[in-house]
C-alpha cells in the first residue's frame, strides 16, 4: 500500500551509505592530496568571480530597499546594521551556496556520471582504487573548506556594496556606516554565518557525487543525474538553512 514510498526511501538509504563512507574516508588513508587541491581550485577559485558579483549586488539591493523604509523613520544611519546582519546571517551563505550548487554540484554529477557510464569507475575499482576515497572525499574536503571562505568574501564585498549606496545616495560617512555595520555583529551571527556554509558545502558535495556515481543509462542518464543534483542540493540547502536558523534564533 505504501509502495510508492519505497523508491525514495531506498534512494535515501543509498545516500546515507555513500555519505557515511565518504565522511569516514576523510579520516582514512590514503589521501589524494593533488585531487583535493585541484578540486579546491575548481570550486574555490573558479566560483570566486560569480560569488563576488552576487555579494556585491545583494549588498547594493539590501541597502537600496532598506534605505527607503529607514528614511521614513529618520533612521537611515542604521542601514549598515541591516545590510551586515542580513548578509552575514542569510543572504551570504544561502546565495553563495545556491550558486556553488548550480556550478559545482552539477559539475560533480556530470563528471562522475560520465565516468560511471564509460566504465571509468569500474576501471578504478579494478585497478585497486576506492572511488569514494579518490573521487568523493576530495570533493567533500575541498567544498567544506572553500565554501565558508567564499561566503566570507561575498559578505565583505556585499557590505562594500552597501557602503557604496549609503555614501552616494544616503550621504553617510564612511565611519558612520562601518561602525554600525561591524558593531551590530555578535558571535551568534558569525557562528551561524560560518556553520551554514560548512553544512551547505557538505550537502553540495555529497548530493552532487551521489547522483554522479549512481548514474545509469548512458548520456541521458548523465543529464538526469546533473538535474537531480542541482534540484536536490538546492532544496536541501533551503531546508537545512531553515533548521539552522531555527536553532540559532532560540539561543
Amino acid at each position: 500500500m505504501l509502495d510508492f514510498l519505497k523508491p525514495p526511501i531506498q534512494t535515501f538509504q543509498d545516500f546515507v551509505l555513500v555519505s557515511s563512507r565518504a565522511l569516514g574516508n576523510v579520516f582514512r588513508r590514503p589521501h589524494y592530496n593533488s585531487d583535493i587541491f585541484q578540486q579546491m581550485d575548481i570550486i574555490g577559485v573558479g566560483s570566486l568571480p560569480i560569488t563576488s558579483m552576487v555579494g556585491w549586488f545583494s549588498g547594493i539591493v539590501m541597502a537600496l530597499q532598506m534605505s527607503r523604509a529607514l528614511t521614513t523613520y529618520g533612521a537611515e544611519s542604521r542601514v549598515g546594521e541591516i545590510v551586515s546582519i542580513t548578509l552575514v546571517r542569510e543572504l551570504g551563505p544561502v546565495l553563495t551556496a545556491l550558486l556553488v550548487a548550480g556550478r559545482n554540484a552539477s559539475g560533480m554529477a556530470s563528471e562522475l556520471g560520465s565516468m560511471k557510464v564509460t566504465e571509468q569507475i569500474d576501471a578504478m575499482r579494478a585497478l585497486g582504487t576506492d572511488p569514494s576515497q579518490k573521487l568523493v572525499t576530495p570533493r567533500l574536503i575541498a567544498s567544506a573548506t572553500m565554501l565558508p571562505l567564499l561566503t566570507i568574501i561575498a559578505d565583505c564585498i556585499g557590505m562594500i556594496g552597501g557602503y557604496f549606496v549609503a555614501s552616494t545616495q544616503l550621504g553617510l560617512t564612511s565611519s558612520e556606516y562601518w561602525t554600525s555595520a561591524w558593531q551590530v555583529l555578535e558571535y551568534n551571527d558569525l557562528a551561524q554565518g560560518l556553520i551554514k556554509p560548512f553544512a551547505f558545502a557538505i550537502i553540495i558535495a555529497l548530493v552532487g557525487c551521489f547522483y554522479g556515481i549512481r548514474t545509469s543509462g548512458g548520456t541521458q542518464g548523465v543529464g538526469r543525474a546533473t538535474t537531480n543534483a542541482v534540484v536536490w542540493s538546492s532544496l536541501w540547502i533551503i531546508v537545512i538553512n531553515t533548521l539552522i536558523t531555527q536553532v540559532f534564533v532560540n539561543f
Binding site: P30, T118, E119, Q120, D122, A123, R125, A126, L127, G128
Partner: protein, 278 residues
C-alpha cells in the same frame, strides 16, 4: 592459498537484473597459463562474466573463486589485493580521460605504490621506465603526453592493453578487444595479446565477436626470436590449453577445445564456428 590450483572458478553462478538473467547457473574453471575464448550474442552475459570473475559485480547465487580464494562475499578492500594480480581491458576502453596516456598507464603502478605506502623517489624513476617500456610494447611510445580523446579507437584499445599488462598480472581479461576495428588493426591487437600471453605464460580470457580471433588464440603463438606470431604445432601447449566458451542468454551452452567446437552440431554454437560470423 590451499590446494586449489585454478585461477578462476565459477560454481553455479547466477546474476539477474530484474527479470533478465545476465548469468544463468554458469560453472567453469580455468588453470594457470590457460586460455579461454568467449563467444556469444550481444547481451548474452560475456561482460558480466568478466566483472563477476574479479568481484566488480556480486552474483545473486553461486560461488566465485579467484586464485583459489572464495571471493563471493569478499569485501572491496580485500579484493584490491587480488585484483592487483589481474589485468583488465574494458569493452569501452575505460581510459581515464582526464589523465594523459602516460599517466593512464602509470596509474596501476602508482596505485600499488600508494596502497603499499612505499617511499617515493627511487620508485618514481622505475615507474616511468616501465610505462615507456609498456607503451613501446604496444607500439605507442610517441603518444606519452597526449590525452585519450586525441587518439584513434584502435590506439585507445592498445593503451587499454598497455594499462592492463603494465603490472605483469597473472590473469588477463580482454573484453571485446577487436570490436569495431578494421581487420589489420584487429590482427595487430590479437598479436599483442598473444605476445603478452606467451612471453609470460599469462592466463587469458578473451571475449570477442570475431571467429578469427579465436582461431589465432587457439592455433598461433608468439615467437620471441622472430618477434612475429606463428602457427603453433598441433597438440602443443597453446592449442591444448585453449578452450572456447559460448554464452547464450546468460547460460554457458558450450565449453570445449577447437576441434570439439568445430564439430558441435548445435545451431547457435555453429553460428560462431564459421568465418565471417559476427
Amino acid at each position: 592459498m590451499g590446494t586449489d590450483s585454478s585461477i578462476v572458478r565459477f560454481e553455479d553462478v547466477s546474476l539477474h537484473f530484474g527479470d533478465t538473467p545476465a548469468l544463468d547457473h554458469v560453472s567453469f574453471e580455468m588453470g594457470a597459463g590457460e586460455t579461454r575464448v568467449v563467444f556469444g550474442a550481444a547481451g548474452s552475459g560475456k561482460t558480466m562474466l568478466l566483472k563477476v570473475a574479479v568481484g566488480l559485480q556480486k552474483p545473486d547465487s553461486g560461488r566465485v573463486f579467484l586464485f583459489g580464494q572464495d571471493i563471493t562475499h569478499l569485501s572491496e578492500e580485500r579484493l584490491f589485493d587480488l585484483r592487483a594480480r589481474v589485468g583488465i581491458l574494458f569493452q569501452e576502453g575505460a581510459l581515464f580521460d582526464s589523465l594523459t596516456i602516460a599517466d593512464n598507464v602509470a596509474y596501476p603502478l602508482e596505485n600499488q605504490r600508494i596502497l603499499q605506502t612505499v617511499g617515493a623517489g627511487s620508485e618514481q624513476r622505475s615507474i616511468e621506465e616501465r610505462v615507456v617500456e609498456t607503451l613501446r610494447f604496444v607500439e605507442l611510445e610517441q603518444t606519452l603526453d597526449k590525452f585519450p580523446s586525441e587518439l584513434s579507437g584502435g590506439m585507445r584499445r592498445r593503451v587499454g592493453i598497455a594499462r592492463a599488462v603494465v603490472t605483469q598480472p597473472e590473469l588477463e581479461l580482454y573484453d571485446s578487444p577487436t570490436a569495431g576495428l578494421d581487420p589489420i588493426t584487429a590482427h595487430t591487437i590479437i598479436s599483442l595479446i598473444l605476445k603478452e600471453r606467451d612471453t609470460r605464460n599469462t592466463a587469458t580470457i578473451i571475449v570477442t565477436h570475431r571467429y578469427q580471433d579465436g582461431q589465432l588464440m587457439a592455433n598461433f603463438r608468439y615467437n620471441p626470436n622472430s618477434g612475429e606470431i606463428e602457427a603453433a604445432p598441433r597438440g602443443s601447449e597453446e592449442t591444448v590449453d585453449t578452450k572456447f566458451l559460448i554464452m547464450q542468454a546468460g547460460r554457458l551452452v558450450f565449453e570445449g577445445t577447437e576441434p570439439e567446437f568445430l564439430a558441435c552440431t548445435d545451431e547457435y554454437v555453429r553460428k560462431f564456428a564459421r568465418p565471417g560470423a559476427s
